[in-house]
Subunit: 150 residues, 2 copies
């Protein structure tokens, strides 16, 4: 991808004031940086996200992962397949519903996550460098309302 700095000439347009546009541009920059940082661990953001939730201790089902990550169920299958093949997560039958499978990290998965998490935080700090600490937590709480409804 080209440079991340915008051509400032277009920064005074209607589009540049649309929150949807700004959201799309910010995530595009963030995702490409995050993918670059996670590449050191052979992870992409989507695999990282699944691994993170697998490390949460909440034993999410694949359907829960799909809904929370806004992925199709079939995409979750292939991501979990890839992580399972690498020994990072395991599938288990859910108690109470034998159709569902819960995803949990292995010891190796947790170890890798610890490293990847640090890399992700470093990258995030870099992306948010133009913001003060206060502004960062403001942004976090505003985005939580928009993205998670609270």
């Amino acid at each position: 991808m080209a440079d991340e700095k915008s051509s400032p000439r277009l920064a005074d347009t209607d589009l540049a004031d649309e929150i949807e546009f700004l959201l799309a541009r910010a995530r595009s920059i963030g995702t490409s940086r995050a993918n670059a940082a996670l590449g050191a661990f052979n992870l992409k953001v989507r695999e990282y996200s699944v691994l993170s939730l697998a490390c949460s201790g909440l034993d999410p089902s694949q359907t829960e992962l799909a809904s929370f990550l806004r992925l199709d169920a079939s995409q979750v299958v292939s991501i979990v397949d890839a992580l399972e093949d690498r020994g990072l997560v395991v599938r288990a039958r859910a108690e109470g519903d034998r159709r569902a499978k819960t995803i949990a990290a292995t010891a190796a998965g947790r170890d890798l996550y610890t490293l990847a998490y640090e890399a992700a935080r470093t990258e995030e700090a870099r992306s948010l460098a133009p913001l003060t600490a206060t502004e960062r937590s403001q942004l976090r709480s505003l985005l939580r309302k928009v993205a998670l409804g609270g």
Copy 2:
């Protein structure tokens, strides 16, 4: 895509506090809603974005569009092709650099943009419903710093 409400059970994880994740989720919701709203005008968000900048009066070149929208130059070609085929924008040789082509909206393009812009604002308001007016402008200025560097 599935439901837009998150499974609240996973909202208390490390991932749910990562700004990059929240950015990705918010834009995923926003983009799919925007695509649905713009579908009434046979536009997708990317075409809408190009049309918007074509209506700005700044006569952006295709390279400027690519950089500002974080698209590959070849993608801009096909988006402009589609808009031009519909008589919404026109290409012109740039003064001063005969390699470059500037993109400007036609009268029909401006008319369509006026309608599409209203639809986009309505959708945006819906997506930002959980925020107060003050929070919305806070979010806008924080995102401008992250997405545009100011």
